[in-house]
């Protein structure tokens, strides 16, 4: 049993008033209360950026790593203790800029992690530069003439790279976001949730009002096991045409399910006995 007060730390969030990070934080705590996540069964890993401050505001064991490197830290944790629910909080800059290589390989290997991408399409902690998800032509501090680069499509990238649960949510719809976080954690394999959120300080276009105006949920009866369809819907983006929901789901076994050493129990719970290691030495005689 986890109570909302159990998750409280002595520190109040220091994100800007109205920031989507606040909604993601609340939704995650709601999910934690609902599912009973705490320091006895869960670990939170964060990268660097505004999102990374979340470790100070949720009282669950956490690791705030380096910029872009949350995924390999989380991978190491999960491989040696697959009993833990492992959540990775990352930003669009953290995940797709500095951490881009780790992202595609983590998808490819299908580690049993849940990745929450705080997607405000900007580097905000460094006061508003373009990110790998910033729209072409968008003006930022680093692209005053307009962004010359095309953005990644994070959902399509996750699907083709091998992630087995790919969803998009909107930070402002906390009930739905909570539901998707719970679903994602239940999924065995890599779960990626691209969470659209405004940056109230540096992005005056993608505001809460903009998202409320343009998002919709994938229709009932949508079949997330159809990869081609998922890629097609993931490519949709425009006025009144930003789909949300679970785009893709596959039951390909997770990386951890294929490690024979941890079939019985987590690696760190297996007593280490190397008394017979000496046998190995004879090979060299």
């Amino acid at each position: 049993m986890t109570k909302m007060t159990d998750l409280q730390t002595p520190h109040s969030p220091n994100w800007c008033p109205g920031c989507g990070d606040l909604n993601i934080w609340s939704s995650f705590k709601n999910a934690a209360v609902q599912e009973g996540w705490d320091s006895s069964n869960t670990a939170i890993i964060a990268g660097i950026g505004c999102h990374g401050h979340i470790v100070n505001f949720v009282k669950i064991n956490s690791f705030e790593g380096l910029h872009g490197r949350a995924l390999p830290v989380a991978t190491g944790i999960k491989m040696v203790n697959n009993r833990l629910n492992v959540f990775v909080f990352t930003g669009d800059g953290d995940c797709f800029g500095e951490g881009g290589n780790h992202f595609i390989h983590t998808c490819r290997r299908n580690h049993d992690l849940t990745v929450l991408i705080h997607d405000n399409s900007l580097y905000s902690l460094t006061t508003g530069q373009t990110s790998p998800l910033t729209a072409h032509g968008f003006k930022t501090k680093s692209t005053p003439q307009g962004n010359p680069d095309e953005p990644f499509n994070p959902l399509a990238l996750a699907i083709i790279s091998g992630a087995t649960f790919v969803a998009r949510a909107y930070a402002g719809d906390m009930a739905k976001l909570t539901e998707i976080i719970v679903e994602a954690n239940k999924h065995k394999g890599l779960s990626v949730i691209d969470i659209l959120q405004p940056c109230v300080t540096f992005n005056k276009v993608c505001t809460h009002a903009f998202y409320r105006e343009n998002i919709y949920y994938l229709e009932e009866g949508y079949n997330p096991s159809d990869k081609q369809k998922a890629l097609e819907r993931a490519s949709e983006f425009g006025e009144k045409k930003i789909p949300l929901g679970i785009f893709y789901k596959s039951d390909r076994p997770s990386y951890e399910e294929n490690i024979s050493q941890i079939k019985e129990k987590p690696l760190i719970e297996i007593p280490v006995d190397r008394a017979t290691a000496g046998e190995l030495f004879k090979k060299y005689t």
Binding site: A43, E64, L66, T75, G76, K78, V272, R274, G278, K282
Partner: protein
């Protein structure tokens, strides 16, 4: 050529193109020697190629310990013309050349003192099994005959080596070796020696191991209770991961090949944070990428073992050669200050022992421990008695898996070491790359920053008092010339000492913390100090200067990627004496 070799060390060099099996033939000859009761030192040199190029391996065989390559060869086995051309000046006074008499081989440049032992290697190989791959094995049979080795032991080795490939493969190889042996025995009676005949004491005898540094890292890690290794391939450490990968299911640990070295170190940090004994390994270029994770482990106080196998730099440089130019990088890499324990091994046995020690130190001090080795150590096999470690205890330090009331992960401690726990136990803490307070919450206050920095750095002082070891002394306690060095130069220098009077050697294993007082005391008796290193700027000399008032008289520096030969040390010492 006389029937007895003049030297106590017999050096056999095998040369061929890459892909012709020089390494496996050299290892087989080395094993033949150790199973006959001899010591060996294998020295391999090769370019960064899979096929083609020039590969050579020198097998040094002796009744006494042998720890370095020699400049000269008693027998050269030339599987191609290139081998003769490149090594024609390296024949010992009385030497032999084994070559393929069926191939168009020009021996006109070979000195007349060298016994030409032409063997129809390719013809015998063809008759035995119609495969070029057998040429090696024929040559092994031939050299075994020349050295007076035992064919039964050789055949036993062939059965072990090829057993997994089926009886037919074993049979053709045994035939190839036997026919090579027979040809030499029948045709070159005058050149046969008694250098490799089994020593009398062979009954009830346990042969030495012929083992290199890479293998010793893997065996040391497994013996020390390794639970998780993430290693990206890179010369010269790749064979560490091969041994670890092969044995993971049997011993229950996990080896993972990550996408790059950034991931390698971060995966290992994650695994360690979650409670596993974890390691990674790389060479200098990969260590550049690991630099940020190195400090992350220091900041979050996460135990981590890093094995760094040096090769020449900068950039890609000479990928398959050796160097000692990463010392100052490892001592200084990463922004800011954090406690780093840095050790360096001098041979495969030291690698085994220091790898095991590194895991205990990492757990005790909750900080990264780097063990530096170099390509010569990584890939040159040497004979040692079977490794034993009856005294070793896996020591996880202040790791606590119980629920603790009022737990504080980074609580202050006079030794700088706080109680550690792992996620899943129920003790809340944050491992935070930001400066943090005792529970791990981000904290930018001045007092807190000072306290935390001082707490972390205190660990080095504690380590200096409780674990740091003084340098090792070889030779007389005081001598006219003292050599100071580290890494694989150990074998070269100790071998040279056997031919030198009034010279001793100080071998340094601890780089951080640095045994400044002990070194000062040891060197205070020295009249002339010669520093020996394989890098351009004298990185060890800089470290000694930084930490002591010792005046190094001279540095002998080599940075061409090649191992220092004992002959070079002897020449240097004679040169110093002639100037005095």
């Amino acid at each position: 050529m006389k029937n007895t070799m003049p030297n106590t060390i017999i050096s056999v060099k095998i040369g061929a193109e890459a892909g012709q099996g020089v390494k496996s033939a050299g290892l087989m000859l080395a094993k033949l020697a150790i199973r006959s009761g001899y010591h060996i030192y294998n020295h391999i040199e090769y370019p960064s190629l899979i096929k083609g190029g020039h590969n050579v391996l020198q097998v040094n065989i002796s009744k006494e310990e042998v720890t370095a390559p020699r400049k000269v060869n008693d027998i050269l086995i030339a599987l191609n013309q290139d081998t003769i051309n490149k090594h024609v000046t390296e024949f010992a006074g009385e030497a032999g050349l084994i070559y393929d008499s069926e191939a168009k081989i020009d021996t006109s440049k070979v000195p007349s003192t060298v016994a030409l032992i032409g063997v129809p290697l390719s013809k015998i190989a063809k008759e035995a099994g119609n495969s070029d791959l057998l040429i090696n094995t024929v040559a092994l049979g031939a050299v075994t005959a020349v050295l007076g080795g035992n064919l039964i032991i050789l055949n036993g080795l062939i059965s072990e080596e090829f057993g997994s490939k089926g009886d037919e493969v074993v049979k053709v190889n045994v035939t190839a070796a036997e026919n090579g042996f027979k040809f030499v025995t029948e045709n070159y009676k005058q050149h046969l020696k008694n250098s490799l005949s089994p020593l009398e004491s062979l009954s009830n005898f346990v042969p030495y191991m012929a083992i290199d540094g890479n293998e010793s890292v893997a065996l040391g890690a497994i013996s020390a209770g390794l639970q998780y290794a993430a290693i990206y391939p890179m010369s010269p450490i790749s064979n560490i991961l091969a041994v670890l990968a092969e044995n993971q299911e049997k011993y229950g640990y996990i080896y993972k090949q990550p996408e790059d070295e950034l991931s390698a170190i971060n995966m290992a940090i994650g695994a360690s944070y979650a409670g596993a004994r974890a390691m990674t390994s790389t060479s200098g270029g990969g260590f550049c990428l690991m630099t940020e994770g190195y400090g992350l482990a220091g900041m979050t106080e996460t135990p981590l073992v890093i094995i760094e196998g040096m090769r020449p730099g900068p950039a890609t440089c000479l990928p398959t050669w050796s160097d000692q130019g990463d010392l100052q990088m490892i001592l200084n890499a990463h922004q800011g200050d954090f406690p780093r324990i840095v050790l360096a091994a001098g041979d495969a046995k030291e690698v085994f022992e220091l790898t095991m020690k590194a895991f205990n130190l990492a757990d005790k001090y909750q900080t990264p421990v780097v063990l530096i080795i170099d390509k010569n150590i990584c890939e040159n096999a040497q004979s040692f008695p079977l490794y034993e470690y009856p005294e070793y205890k896996i020591d996880r330090g202040k790791l606590n898996m119980q629920k603790i009331e009022g737990y504080k992960r980074y609580a202050s401690d006079p030794e700088g070491i706080s109680q550690r726990t792992i996620p899943g136990v129920g003790n809340f803490f944050i491992a935070n790359s930001d400066e943090h307070d005792e529970e791990g919450y981000s904290n930018e206050e001045s007092d807190n920053r000072n306290r935390m920095m001082e707490k972390r750095m205190t660990k080095l002082k504690t380590c200096k008092e409780q674990d740091m070891e003084k340098p090792q002394l070889f030779g007389p306690e005081s001598a006219e010339i003292t050599i100071v060095s580290w890494g694989s130069n150990k074998g070269t220098i100790t071998q040279a000492l056997k031919s030198l009077e009034n010279v001793n050697y100080v071998h340094i294993n601890w780089m951080s913390p640095f045994p400044a007082e002990a070194l000062t005391e040891m060197l205070s008796k020295s009249k002339y100090i010669l520093n020996v290193e394989c890098n351009y700027t004298g990185q060890m000399e800089r470290l000694i200067r930084e930490n002591t008032k010792i005046n190094i008289n001279e540095s002998f520096l080599k940075y061409d990627g090649r191992q220092i030969y004992p002959e070079e040390i002897i020449d240097k010492v004679n040169n110093i004496r002639s100037k005095k």
